[in-house]
Symmetry: C2
Subunit: 247 residues, 2 copies
């Protein structure tokens, strides 16, 4: 135990959040990799082989670095996920400032999020698990809040409620993306068949009469297109934030 260089203050303590750690400190040799490159490598891996395939070893190998070198950039594996998350938020095609029509602005934001989650099947699951506060995520937050300011209803609400709405919107998009991934081809047909077998068997026991009625009733009406479902549920959500839709 080194006696007393100085009783490690909170200031010298190593931060647990990666965004508090500067990417470059200016001392020592120039790092061979950037956070963006690391995130890109991890994302490519996750897109190709699933999130479980994203290991420190594999990401390092993809970068052409030694496994333990990666720990200079990403002190914990969690942080790798943070980088991935923020990189996808950087993919959103958003204008610098919202256009001024809150309905259009928030629909755009939601659709960009959904599009990213469709590009990256692992994304929704990650978003639901971890809050993301990187620079790109903050830009999105700012866009959202700016859009709300054009709404007479929403701009009258306290700041806390507006932040709540942001979480609500994000959560809703994530949930929809996850649901869509589960029912639309995502999983193997095997799994779907099993689920149907199982539900049919359970419903047939008569223990769940209302479920039986609901499932049976759905057979005659054609299922909605996912995009229509998304638009519907999104508008329902937006109307709780912005008041009734304009037209």
């Amino acid at each position: 135990m080194p006696p007393a260089t100085e009783p490690k203050t909170d200031a010298t303590a190593v931060p647990g959040m990666i965004w508090l750690r500067p990417e470059r400190t200016g001392r020592g040799p120039e790092p061979a990799h950037s956070r963006a490159a690391i995130a890109a490598a991890a994302i490519e891996l996750a897109d190709a082989e699933g999130l479980d395939a994203v290991s420190m070893r594999k990401v390092a190998a993809a970068l052409g670095a030694g496994t333990m070198s990666l720990y200079n950039y990403v002190p914990k594996k969690e942080h790798l996920f943070d980088l991935m998350l923020d990189a996808t938020a950087g993919e959103f095609a958003l204008p610098d400032e919202p256009g001024g029509d809150p309905w259009a602005d928030l629909r755009l934001l939601a659709h960009e999020e959904l599009a990213a989650m469709r590009r990256h099947p692992w994304l929704a699951g990650l978003c639901l698990t971890r809050p993301s506060m990187g620079p790109n995520a903050l830009r999105c937050t700012d866009f959202f809040l700016a859009a709300l300011e054009s709404s007479p209803v929403a701009s009258a609400l306290p700041g806390g409620t507006r932040m709540e709405f942001f979480a609500l919107l994000n959560g809703h998009v994530c949930q929809f993306a996850e649901w869509e991934r589960n029912v639309t081809g995502g999983q193997s047909a095997r799994w779907q068949a099993e689920l149907i077998t199982y539900l049919a068997a359970q419903v047939a026991t008569g223990q769940y009469p209302h479920l039986a009625a609901t499932l049976a009733g759905g057979a005659d009406t054609a299922p909605l297109e996912p995009d229509v479902m998304f638009a519907n549920s999104l508008d329902r959500l937006l109307s709780t934030m912005l008041g009734p839709p304009p037209a």
Copy 2:
């Protein structure tokens, strides 16, 4: 390769979903453990040491069984999570049939879910990740659907939409529980301090003017009690399902 006993049909294939696997097949010695006991052991572990501490080895040890014996009951680790999830759904104190006031019935359901998530800090995260279809979860689904039938608005909707609402309600409760766990004491004070430091620094750059305004604006109004926030957001959600509240 064994020549041709029979080309393994889908019927003989081992099911991927644990609920399709009977707990007892009637042949051979009686199993020493029940699914309920296994779930209880796993839940106790998760409550005490977090979800990451739930490993096949530790659960087996808690049961007094050999590690690999557990695989007779739980062929994949995922299935262990399914058991845990369904066991918590069994904790809900719900009447056999809803009382007939859809607002009261759904509020009761949501509060029971939230209470379970407060008892089991790992639960919300799991719910958000995995769909649960065990017997207890089906009972909840049935309760929900039964409650909707007393609502003139909701009962007119197609079955698919009603199922959607169920997912929406569950998702909302999970998100709230996760959020609450993050801000209310759950994490270390260290993490909170870091987040504040970070946000303050970022906001001070002037790159996020609307975020700055929103965070600054929140300082003068007292934050709402979590229970009040939950009640508010729940009622907002319910009114999109059931129409405007009765009184």
